[in-house]
Amino acid sequence: MEPIIVTRDLKKVYRLGKVDVQALRGVDCIVQEGELVAVVGPSGCGKSTLLHILGGLTGPTSGHVLVDGNDFSKMTDADRTRFRRHTIGFVFQRFNLLPTLTARDNVAIAQHIQGDGFNPHRFQAVVEMLGIQNKLDHRPYALSGGEQQRVAIARAVVCEPKILLADEPTGNLDTENSQAVLSMLRDLNRGFGQTILMITHNPEAAAVADRIIHMRDGHIISD
């Protein structure tokens, strides 16, 4: 079976003022469909940059990125946006819910942006799986961190993306909520075969993964 993510000699250079910052210095990695992979490493090692490139939020400076058979290095920004809409789901450390919308609308807007319209069956299945049925009419400010992250996960998976990219999903949560969120990610992976790439500082979070990739200074140092 073809791997769902393949990167070869992936490099990313940021320009900060007059200084070039090499965030990725040649990353080679392969992720198979249905894997739950944790990427760990110190701050500034390039793991977030890797996640952003794999999610199509930014392009690589050089090298190849194949996600679900699509070569990002040959795609325009608009192509990557279209691809992201249908293939990628994001979960962020800071939840990143739209503050003016209710939990229900925060989840539903993902379906709207995808363009296939509101799918009530999928919506219901996801909110039940994440246990947020009673929180749907609340706005983010009225939800706890754990509840917000569950809504964010619901939003990320409601469109059935092939890949779920999670950027420090437990970084803003207490131990109990961290465990709950990790449990949900694991259930999604085990129960539905959801491919998940998770960035984390937390060893307990990394421990739920099938594989742990260690990064340092823009390189993968162990896999």
Binding site: G55, A78, I109
Partner: protein
């Protein structure tokens, strides 16, 4: 869903929403009121000339058909020659004067018997015709605006005039003095600014006009029907330029407020735009959200503007009853289109800027 997002954004920032909508409302009300006032005064002036009851107006060579600009006098004896033309029933010589002290008033000096023959006489609400040289007739709107009663004196043209009668509005000017007094004040003798000619039947107006042109080839001969059709902003010097300036100022206000409002909104919501982009929202989607939000603000502003214009009209006419403000559906629609166009233009740059935000930078925005 986009509508929900837009409405929730608008409700989430009530002060910004109120200020933006109010700016659009002022823009709409300003256009409607200024244009309504200009057209209202123009049409009111035209209706009052029509209300004199004449069929033809004769003015000196080079005179403006807009009576407010016509003071060039012509020999009153011309009136005798006009009377001799077949089918002419009556000729009323009128001398137009202006008072610019404590306001701007047009005063007609009239020969009461001939003016009455042309106009079939004034309808008196109170008092009666001139008894003395410095008596004056005022119409009911003017009397109401100045709280005038019979016997009171008003100061015009550096003279005190006694109000001898309050007449029904709609017969030319709002103020009438005797022709002789008007001549004294202008220091002219046997002169008139305009002749109102009444035919034995309105159907003879064209024939009589042609006869007058033959008789007085250099004079301006204007059937009243033609005059009415000419009393539009297009035929008046400077009116369209005035409209253009007012519209430009109004649209400029709306444009700038919406621009600033949406620009600050984009900055405030940078992170939210990043979220939408992470969900796969295209540039077009982001632009549509911003433009639709500006559009909704404009629609609210336009509706408030209509109400504001109606209230302002009522207040202005209450304070100045002699004014006329015409709020028309045509200009209401035009003002709405201008406001929408200004808003869309104002929101365009912020929308494009939002669409071009880098999603990674936007998500990292604090």
């Amino acid at each position: 869903m986009v509508n929900k997002l837009i409405v929730s954004n608008i409700l989430h920032r009530p002060i910004r929403t109120a200020v933006s909508a109010l700016a659009v409302a002022i823009e709409v009300a300003m256009v409607m009121l200024f244009v309504g006032l200009a057209n209202g005064m123009l049409h009111d002036s035209a209706r009052r000339v029509e209300g004199v009851g004449a069929d033809i107006m004769v003015q000196p060579p080079g005179a403006s058909f807009f009576l407010a600009f016509s003071q060039a006098p012509m020999p009153i004896k011309i009136g005798d020659r006009l009377k001799d033309i077949p089918h002419v029933l009556a000729v009323a010589p009128t001398l137009v004067l202006f008072n610019s002290v404590k306001g701007l008033d047009m005063i007609w000096g009239i020969d009461m018997p001939t003016f009455n023959r042309v106009s079939e006489g004034f309808v008196y609400h109170d008092g009666g015709p001139f008894l003395n040289s410095y008596d004056i007739l005022v119409d009911d709107w003017y009397a109401k605006a100045r709280h005038l009663r019979i016997g009171q004196t008003i100061s015009l043209l550096n003279h005190d005039f006694r109000v001898s009668g309050i007449v029904e509005h709609g017969k030319g000017a709002r103020l009438f003095i005797s022709l002789n007094t008007a001549e004294d004040l202008l220091q002219v003798q046997e002169k008139a600014s305009i002749f109102f000619v009444k035919c034995t039947d309105p159907g003879y107006a064209d024939d009589v006009s042609e006869a007058i042109r033959q008789l007085l080839p250099k004079y301006q001969v204007l059937p009243v029907k033609e005059y009415m059709s000419m009393m539009t902003s297009n035929n008046l010097p400077g009116f369209n330029a005035f409209f253009t300036v007012i519209i430009a100022i109004a649209v400029g206000i709306g444009f700038m407020v919406i621009f600033l409002s949406m620009y600050t909104t984009i900055t405030e919501r940078t992170r939210e735009i990043g979220i939408l982009k992470s969900l796969g929202a295209s540039k077009g989607y982001i632009i549509a959200v911003i433009l639709r939000e500006a559009g909704l603000l404009s629609v609210v502003g336009i509706l408030v503007g209509y109400g504001l214009a109606a209230l302002a009209r009522k207040a202005i006419l209450g304070a100045y009853p002699t004014l006329s403000i015409e709020l028309t559906v045509e200009w209401a629609l035009y003002a709405a289109l201008l406001a929408l166009a200004g808003s869309m233009l104002g929101a365009s740059y912020p929308a494009l800027r939002a669409a071009q935000l880098d999603p990674v930078d936007a998500l990292a925005y604090e």
